[in-house]
C-alpha cells in the first residue's frame, strides 16, 4: 500500500507545484514558457495515445495541430464566433478530419502508415500555405482574440492564461489516464503488441484504431486551438513537419508509451532549449544525436530508465522480505505501467 500512497503523493505534489508555480516565479517570461510547454504536452499526450499505446506512428500531428489552430483562428477572426464555441468547434472539426483521414490511413500498417501520414501532414501544410484566400498564406493570421471572459474571470493576464492551459492539460491527462487504465486501453495495447493476435481475440482492430486516432487528433487540435488563443498569431509553419518532430522528440525523450513521459520529455527539452538559446537554430545539433542515442540505448526514454531502476530495486527487495506483499503492490501500481512497456518485438 505504501507504494500506492507514494504515487498519490507524487501526483498531488506535482499539481500543487504547478498551481503555485506562477506565484513563486512571478516572472512573466517564465510563466509564458511554462504555458507553452503545457500546450505542447497536450499534443504529446495525444500522440502518445496513438503511437505509444496503439502502436501507430503518426507523422501528421503537426497538421492536426495546425488544423485546430487555424479553425479557432478563422472562426474567431473571420466569423466572429465566441472563443469558447470556436474552441469546441475547432476540436470537433479536427476530430472529424481525423476520422476521415483515419478511415483510410489506418488501413495501412507500419512503414506505410508512417509514410502515408507524413504525406497527409505535408498536404495539410501545403493547403494552409497556398490557400491564401482563406488562411492568409505565408502572412499568417493575426489578431486572434484571447479567450473571452467567463463571468468575472478574464483571461488577459499571463497567470490566468497559465491556469486555463493547466486546466486543459490536467483534463487531458485525466482522460488519457482513464483510457489507458481501462478495457479500452488494454484493447489499444493489444493492437500495439500484435494486431494479428488482437484480431484472433475478437477485437475489432479497425474500430479501436480509429477511436485512438480520432482521440489523438482531437488532442492535437485542442493543443493547436489553445496555442492560437495564447500566441494570438499563427502562420503555416505550425503545420510543418518540424513541429511533428518536436512533439516526437518530447515524447521519445520522456518515454513513449508511459503515462509521465510527455511531461518529463517536454519540460526537459523546452527548458534545456532555453538554456541552449545561444544555439538557436542549431539546437538540433544537440537534440538530434540525443534522440538517436536515447532510442538506441534507452528505447523507453527517461521514464523507462526510472522504471527499470525501480523494478530492479523492487525485485531485490521482494527477494529479501515479504515476497507476496510487495509483488501485489507492484502489480497494483503498475497495472498499466508494466503494460506500458510492452512493445512489439517481432516485426
Amino acid at each position: 500500500m505504501s507504494v500506492l500512497l507514494n504515487r498519490r503523493t507524487v501526483v498531488t505534489g506535482l499539481i500543487l507545484f504547478a498551481v503555485l508555480f506562477p506565484f513563486v516565479t512571478r516572472n512573466d517570461y517564465v510563466i509564458h514558457i511554462m504555458t507553452l510547454s503545457f500546450i505542447w504536452m497536450i499534443g504529446v499526450y495525444g500522440l502518445n495515445l496513438l503511437a505509444g499505446y496503439t502502436g501507430y506512428l503518426s507523422l501528421a500531428h503537426a497538421g492536426f495541430f495546425a488544423v485546430g489552430a487555424y479553425s479557432l483562428g478563422l472562426l474567431t477572426v473571420e466569423a466572429g464566433v465566441n472563443f469558447w464555441l470556436a474552441l469546441i468547434l475547432a476540436c470537433l472539426f479536427t476530430g472529424i478530419l481525423g476520422f476521415l483521414i483515419g478511415m483510410i490511413a489506418l488501413r495501412t500498417r507500419e512503414h506505410f502508415f508512417a509514410i502515408y501520414t507524413l504525406c497527409v501532414g505535408y498536404i495539410i501544410y501545403l493547403v494552409i500555405y497556398k490557400w491564401d484566400g482563406l488562411t492568409g498564406g505565408v502572412r499568417g493570421l493575426i489578431g486572434i482574440p484571447a479567450p473571452s471572459n467567463i463571468g468575472p474571470i478574464s483571461f488577459t493576464s499571463s497567470i490566468s492564461q497559465y491556469f486555463l492551459v493547466l486546466f486543459f492539460l490536467l483534463l487531458t491527462i485525466f482522460f488519457i489516464y482513464r483510457i489507458v487504465h481501462s478495457l479500452t486501453g488494454r484493447t489499444f495495447m493489444a493492437i500495439r503488441n500484435s494486431e494479428d493476435l488482437a484480431l484472433t481475440l475478437g477485437i475489432s482492430t479497425m474500430k479501436n484504431k480509429l477511436v485512438s486516432f480520432v482521440l489523438s487528433t482531437i488532442f492535437a487540435g485542442l493543443a493547436g486551438a489553445l496555442y492560437a488563443g495564447f500566441v494570438r498569431f499563427i502562420g503555416p509553419d505550425i503545420g510543418y513537419i518540424t513541429i511533428t518532430f518536436d512533439l516526437l522528440i518530447y515524447l521519445l525523450i520522456g518515454g513513449i508509451g508511459t503515462m509521465s513521459g510527455p511531461i518529463v520529455g517536454t519540460l526537459l527539452i523546452v527548458w534545456l532549449s532555453q538554456y541552449l538559446q545561444f544555439l538557436q537554430d542549431y539546437r538540433m545539433l544537440v537534440f538530434g544525436p540525443l534522440l538517436a542515442f536515447l532510442i538506441i540505448f534507452y528505447p523507453w526514454g527517461i521514464v523507462g530508465i526510472f522504471q527499470q531502476w525501480k523494478q530492479k530495486r523492487q525485485a531485490r527487495k521482494a527477494r529479501s522480505i515479504h515476497q507476496e506483499e510487495n509483488r501485489k503492490d507492484e502489480v497494483e501500481l503498475d497495472a498499466g505501467v508494466s503494460a506500458d512497456q510492452e512493445q512489439v518485438r517481432e516485426g
Binding site: R178, M189, L197, L199, T200, L201, V331, S338, Q341, R345
Partner: protein, 254 residues
C-alpha cells in the same frame, strides 16, 4: 455438422497452398492435422479463422457460412486459435496478457472507460476473473504476475492456451502447441489438451510430434502440397501407404 470446410482452396500467386480440402471438425473430439513442412497446414487455419480470404470453397460453422467474415467476428462466434509463434507480449505479466482475451465478451466503450461506469467496473472484474480462471485451468496461477519474458517455452504455450480459452470458445485451433517443448512437458501439454476437451471445448491441432498425435487424436487429416491425402483414425493413418510415402525423406512416422 459442427465445423466443415468444402473445397477450401488458397492460391498465393502461382502456388496452391491449400487445394480443395474437404474436412470436418467433429464436436467434442480432438481433431488433428499433420503433414510435412510447407504442406499448407497453417494456411488452412488462416483460412478458417478469416486471416486470408480463400480463393475458392467454403467454411461452414454450425450451419452458417463464415467464409467471408473478418477474423474478429469469427472469434466472436466461438472459434479461437493460437499461433505457431505465441505472439504474447513479453514485457508484460501473464495476467495482463490474458485479461484482454475476454474483451470480446464485454461491451464497455470509451465513455465507460472515462467515467468509470458501473458497467466498466463489472466488466473489468469479469475479464480479470475469467483470466484467473483460465490461468488456473492451464496451471499458471502461480505465474500470473510474472513477466512473460521470464517464462519457459512450455509456460508460454500454456499462457497462449489460456488466452485462447479466455475468449470462451467452442472450438480452438492450436498451431503446433508442442513445438520447442521437451518430451516430458509435451505429455503435460497433451494432458491439458485432453482436459480442454473434457471442459467441452472442441480441439483441432496441427502437430509434427507423431507420438503425441497418435496417442491424442481421435481423428487425423494429412495434408501434402496443399492436398488432403488421407483422413482417418490414428491407426488408419499409420498404415496408410500414401502417408508413409509423403513422409519418406522427411521425418518418418515414429
Amino acid at each position: 455438422m459442427f465445423l466443415q470446410t468444402k473445397g477450401l482452396t488458397k492460391q498465393f500467386g502461382g502456388l496452391v497452398a491449400v487445394n480443395k480440402v474437404d474436412f470436418t471438425v467433429e464436436k467434442g473430439k480432438i481433431n488433428a492435422i499433420i503433414g510435412p513442412n510447407g504442406a499448407g497446414k497453417t494456411t488452412f487455419f488462416n483460412l478458417i479463422s478469416g486471416f486470408h480470404p480463400p480463393s475458392a470453397g467454403q467454411v461452414i460453422f454450425k450451419g452458417r457460412d463464415i467464409t467471408h467474415l473478418p477474423p474478429d467476428q469469427i472469434a466472436r462466434l466461438g472459434i479461437a486459435r493460437t499461433f505457431q509463434t505465441t505472439h504474447l507480449f513479453e514485457q508484460s505479466t501473464v495476467l495482463d496478457n490474458v485479461i484482454v482475451g475476454h474483451r470480446l465478451r464485454t461491451s464497455s466503450t470509451l465513455w465507460d472507460a472515462i467515467f468509470r461506469t458501473a458497467r466498466h467496473q463489472r466488466e473489468e472484474k469479469q475479464c480479470r476473473d475469467k483470466a484467473l480462471d483460465v490461468l488456473d485451468f492451464v496451471g499458471l496461477t502461480d505465474a500470473a504476475d510474472r513477466l512473460v519474458a521470464g517464462l519457459t517455452q512450455e509456460a508460454k504455450k500454456r499462457a497462449a492456451f489460456a488466452l485462447a480459452l479466455a475468449t470462451d470458445p467452442e472450438v480452438v485451433f492450436l498451431d503446433e502447441p508442442a513445438a520447442g517443448v521437451n518430451p516430458d512437458e509435451t505429455d503435460g501439454l497433451a494432458e491439458l489438451i485432453r482436459k480442454m476437451v473434457e471442459r467441452g471445448v472442441t480441439v483441432c491441432l496441427i502437430e509434427h510430434k507423431m507420438q503425441m498425435i497418435m496417442n491424442l487424436a481421435d481423428k487425423i487429416m494429412v495434408l501434402n502440397f496443399g492436398e488432403k491425402i488421407a483422413e482417418g483414425t490414428p491407426h488408419e493413418i499409420m498404415n496408410n501407404e500414401d502417408v508413409i510415402r509423403a513422409y519418406l525423406g522427411g521425418n518418418a512416422i515414429a
